[in-house]
């Protein structure tokens, strides 16, 4: 399981997690300190927020483009390793009266 998905479990079970915290072993506390030392940022949290605001299917066409599929693909070497999706972040605010 990737760390992106562990976070979801962390969020939904936060009540359980907080009650377990007291029992964290010394080793785990040390691990936590090391990870915090590597970086205080927690992009997984932001990811969960963004993901929660998504509308199903919107933007999925990008995953079907030839460029993306080739970039994601398994073959090594010949594929250009950098893919850049560019555009303005969204369509401007539209008011409907």
């Amino acid at each position: 399981m990737s760390s992106w998905h562990q976070q979801i479990i962390g969020n939904t079970n936060s009540f359980n997690l907080s009650s377990i915290v007291n029992f964290i072993s010394e080793g785990d506390a040390e691990e936590h300190k090391i990870l915090q030392w590597l970086s205080p940022l927690e992009p997984q949290k932001r990811h969960q927020g963004v993901r929660a605001g998504r509308v199903d299917g919107v933007g999925n066409w990008v995953l079907e483009t030839r460029e993306f599929r080739k970039w994601r693909g398994e073959e090594d070497g010949c594929v250009e390793p950098v893919l850049f999706c560019y555009g303005n972040p969204g369509v401007g605010k539209t008011h409907v009266r």
Binding site: S2, S3, W4, H5, Q6, E31, K33, I34, L35, W37, L38, S39, P40, L41, E42, P43, Q44, R46, H47, V50, R51, R54, V55, D56, G57, V58, G59, N60, W61, V62, L63, T65, E67, F68, K70, W71, R72, E74, D76, G77, V79, E80, P81, V82, L83, F84, C85, Y86, G87, N88, P89, G90, V91, G92, K93, T94, H95, V96
Partner: protein
């Protein structure tokens, strides 16, 4: 009703890569750049976050533990410097058959951080050709990206008519006052808004 449709392609790509990676020796890492968090999002912290995700996934390597112990003993518990992080990342990532790194909204990072970040990514790809990098941002930063990756592939992204329709359908179905909506108004919204937006 006010609407603003923002699509986070990075979050879609990260989830897609995670789905594909399941059961394989593939790591998916990423950072969302945020204009409001520029101070906290130093290059060291952003690359550190990538390293942190790798360590969370595969366990913390012994040399990282040793470096931490050593830093702890030094004056005030010494923090990491950019070259330390880049060295560690290079070491970790070369041991992976495939690693994906995503940086969302690069234009929200200050130019200095962007330069350092792209330089580090260039270095990482040089030692680890199995690494793939996904970037998003406003069009103008392409000029900076090609300075480091002359053959970078580009995809222009903009909500499609289908995207706008799915979004509108969702918004209309979430409407807290459905009685205010009749069939005709609904049909008008679904027809006019996508047209207007595509003309923008």
């Amino acid at each position: 009703m006010q609407m603003s449709l923002t699509i986070s392609y990075s979050s879609l790509v990260i989830d897609n890569l995670c789905d594909q990676a399941e059961g394989k020796d593939v790591a998916v890492m990423g950072v969302y750049c945020d204009f409001l968090a520029q101070e906290e999002q130093s290059t060291t912290n952003m690359l550190g976050a990538i390293l942190k995700q790798l360590a969370t996934r595969g366990g913390i390597s012994d040399y990282i533990r040793e470096a931490f112990q050593k830093a702890k003993k030094e004056f005030g518990g010494r923090g990491l410097l950019l070259p330390n992080i880049v060295d560690m990342l290079k070491k970790e990532i070369t041991s992976l058959p495939r690693g994906y790194i995503c940086f969302d909204a690069l234009d929200e990072s200050p130019p200095k951080h962007r330069r350092e970040l792209l330089e580090a990514v260039q270095e990482i790809i040089r030692v680890s050709p199995n690494t793939r990098v996904f970037l998003t941002g406003r069009p103008h930063i392409y000029d900076e990206i090609v300075r480091y990756f002359s053959r970078a592939v580009r995809i222009p992204v903009c909500p499609t008519q289908a995207d706008i329709k799915s979004y509108l359908e969702k918004r209309l179905s979430d409407d807290t006052d459905p009685n205010a909506m009749d069939k005709k108004l609904r049909a008008d919204i679904m027809r006019i808004i996508p047209e207007k937006i595509s003309q923008m």
